[in-house]
């Protein structure tokens, strides 16, 4: 029994992290209708920038937690202004392809600059060590990352559903011309939201830095899992991304515990099952015909 609790807690801890990582993807899709393939690359950039800040400017984890999202926000703004915006009115496939190309570029650029073997990063002081209750124990950092993620997800969820921002940007992506004709300066809203989604990816990267290998490729497979998460949750649904994040975390942990080699395939089986029963995901809106 205590083992089961242990696995559950680990699953939840991982789930929180998945939720946060998928959140930016969901925000950008939910609001702009863009499936950002480069989300994994942006996550990687977040971690790499954190590592570089530490190595070259001795700026630690807590600083990175603030600085990296700001940098990535800027990066997202550039990305939207220079590239993504031209394709917003077209089929989402075009932005999917664009960001796929961008992923190749980002990964290669990081490889060229920082090599392929990865960069070192330490667990921040104060977050090392373990919490042990009875026979169950969890690393302090995992708990921190999970709580941090959940709080952030809640905040973002409120921001997107309880304020005008989400509404305006959704309208703008559905039909930019017409939305302008309603007196809304589309550019002023879409860009920051895109930047925000990218900043979230960067933040997830910083959070991952102390526990994961920081390499140019770290996002390449991760993005596939995140896709599974958002498809399960329902593309574009923030609540869906969060719930599915936890679900995937748990399924993975139990998978590891009871059928180790199949842990990863289990996620995709879960996804197939969800699509079969609810084609638009757990919390997805029906597809707009």
């Amino acid at each position: 029994m205590s083992e089961f609790i242990q696995y559950t807690l680990q699953g939840l801890a991982a789930g929180g992290f998945y939720a946060l990582s998928a959140l930016g993807l969901a925000v950008i899709f939910g609001v702009l209708g863009v499936v950002n393939f480069s989300h994994g690359a942006c996550y990687m950039l977040g971690a790499v920038i954190a590592a570089v800040l530490l190595a070259e400017l001795s700026l630690g984890f807590w600083v990175a937690l603030v600085v990296v999202p700001v940098i990535m926000f800027g990066f997202g703004v550039l990305m939207e202004r220079l590239l993504v915006q031209w394709l917003l009115a077209l089929d989402p496939l075009y932005n999917f392809l664009l960001t796929f190309g961008l992923t190749l570029i980002l990964v290669e650029a990081v490889k060229l600059r920082y090599g392929v073997s990865g960069l070192p990063y330490e667990i921040p002081a104060g977050l090392g060590g373990q919490v042990t209750v009875g026979s169950v124990n969890l690393s302090v950092y995992a708990i921190f990352a999970c709580v941090f993620s959940v709080v952030l997800c809640l905040a973002v969820g409120l921001l997107m559903t309880r304020t005008r921002i989400g509404m305006i940007v959704r309208a703008a992506t559905e039909d930019p011309g017409r939305t302008r004709a309603l007196g809304i300066n589309v550019g002023r809203w879409v860009t920051p939201v895109f930047g925000f989604g990218i900043a979230l990816a960067g933040l997830a990267g910083v959070l991952a830095a102390p526990t994961r290998a920081i390499t140019a490729e770290m996002g390449s497979n991760f993005i596939i899992i995140l896709f599974a998460v958002v498809v399960i949750g329902g593309l574009g649904s923030i609540l869906g991304a969060v719930v599915a994040g936890f679900l995937v975390g748990l399924v993975e942990a139990y998978g590891v515990a009871y059928a180790p080699a199949y842990a990863q395939i289990v996620i995709f089986v879960l996804m197939a099952a969800v699509i079969l029963v609810r084609p638009s995901g757990l919390f997805g809106r029906e597809e707009v015909a």
Binding site: F100, I105, P279, A289
Partner: protein
């Protein structure tokens, strides 16, 4: 942001062909294409030339879905790679002539495509892309698990190139090219026929407005599944020839990067152009070949850069852009002569 919005993959199929069916131009172009096909291994190292054809057909199979049915499959590696393994296993186990093995592989690809298609066509657009990607990942993991059969990450090595004991084809990649090219050309012909059939017309209708197509009495899902399976069969044909050409099949064939690469080729050639796939493959494969011995380390910068530029600036791809330019030219000429 553009004002005239069409939320559809913007292919310009609707334009009535300026080259009428019986136009001598048509035959001339077909002839030119054939000549290039025959001359290719003289200009390019034969195994690389074979790669171009394989990737070309693979891209055409993707275009059949993307350009003509409006479905972006981001998991086509499953069919290319699935067939590569199956072809290899048939060739190794039974030592049959390679075209038989390739056709076996292609049939296998269609068999796995059927359930995947059945599940995936419930979604469209970007959802479809992600769902197919996920299924392809599943196939990847399965192939990795079945290492007794597939050789795991060592790959399935030593696939023979049996061909009725004709030594030149079996051992010389120059002659093998021609034997393989026949299979590829058959695949291309099938794709062309599908697009230029009443069936193909319905696919376009389904792409543009599924609800409308249903009201006309067309079962949209069935059409999509059929298109998906045909496309998988063609991808399988290409993958099978590829495996025979290289003499092995590796997990790389099933990886999502392979799916990405073929979409790159399709987009580069031009979505909805069909022939564009071959042109795109020519560019990408030769570029990759050239870059890998150029000592340049940032191959991803180049391929990624091409992707970005094409998607942003030349949405009709190489073939589409050239065709539109030609069209404009011909129309201008006509107008000039009329005035």
């Amino acid at each position: 942001m553009s004002e005239q919005m069409t939320a559809k993959v913007d292919v310009d199929l609707a334009q009535p062909s300026i080259l009428s069916r019986r136009s001598p131009w048509r035959y001339l172009m077909l002839l030119a294409g054939l000549a290039v096909l025959v001359m290719l291994p003289y200009w390019i190292y034969p195994p690389v030339a074979m790669d171009i054809l394989c990737w070309g057909l693979f891209a055409i199979s993707v275009d059949l879905l993307l350009g003509f049915t409006g479905l972006l499959s981001f998991g086509h590696a499953a069919f290319w790679g699935g067939s590569a393994y199956c072809t290899g296993l048939i060739a190794i186990t039974w030592g049959v002539p390679f075209p038989v093995a390739v056709i076996g592989g292609s049939v296998f690809a269609m068999l796995i495509a059927w359930p995947i298609g059945w599940l995936s066509v419930r979604r469209t657009g970007i959802y479809f892309a992600m769902v197919t990607l996920a299924f392809a990942q599943m196939i990847y993991f399965i192939a990795n698990q079945l290492r007794d059969l597939t050789g795991g990450e060592n790959g399935l090595q030593g696939i023979p190139r049996t061909f009725f004991g004709i030594d030149a084809v079996e051992n010389d990649s120059f002659y093998f090219y021609y034997a393989g090219a026949v299979l590829i050309v058959i695949g291309i012909a099938i794709a062309w026929q599908v697009v230029n059939s009443p069936f193909g017309r319905v696919l376009t209708a389904v792409r543009d407005n599924p609800a409308r197509a249903r009201a006309l009495g067309y079962d949209v899902e069935v059409f999509k599944i059929k298109a998906f399976v045909i496309s998988a069969g063609l991808a399988g044909l290409a993958g099978g020839v590829f495996a025979i050409s290289h003499g092995f099949a590796s997990l790389q064939e099933l990886a999502w990067t392979t799916s990405g690469k073929v979409v790159l080729i399709t987009v580069l050639g031009g979505i909805g152009t069909l022939w564009g796939g071959l042109v795109g493959a020519g560019v990408v494969v030769t570029l990759e070949d050239y870059l890998s011995s150029s000592g340049f380390e940032g191959i991803g910068l180049i391929t990624g850069g091409i992707f970005v530029v094409i998607v942003l600036l030349f949405r009709h791809g190489i073939w589409g852009t050239a065709r539109n330019a030609l069209r404009r030219f011909v129309l201008d000429r006509r107008r000039a002569t009329r005035d």
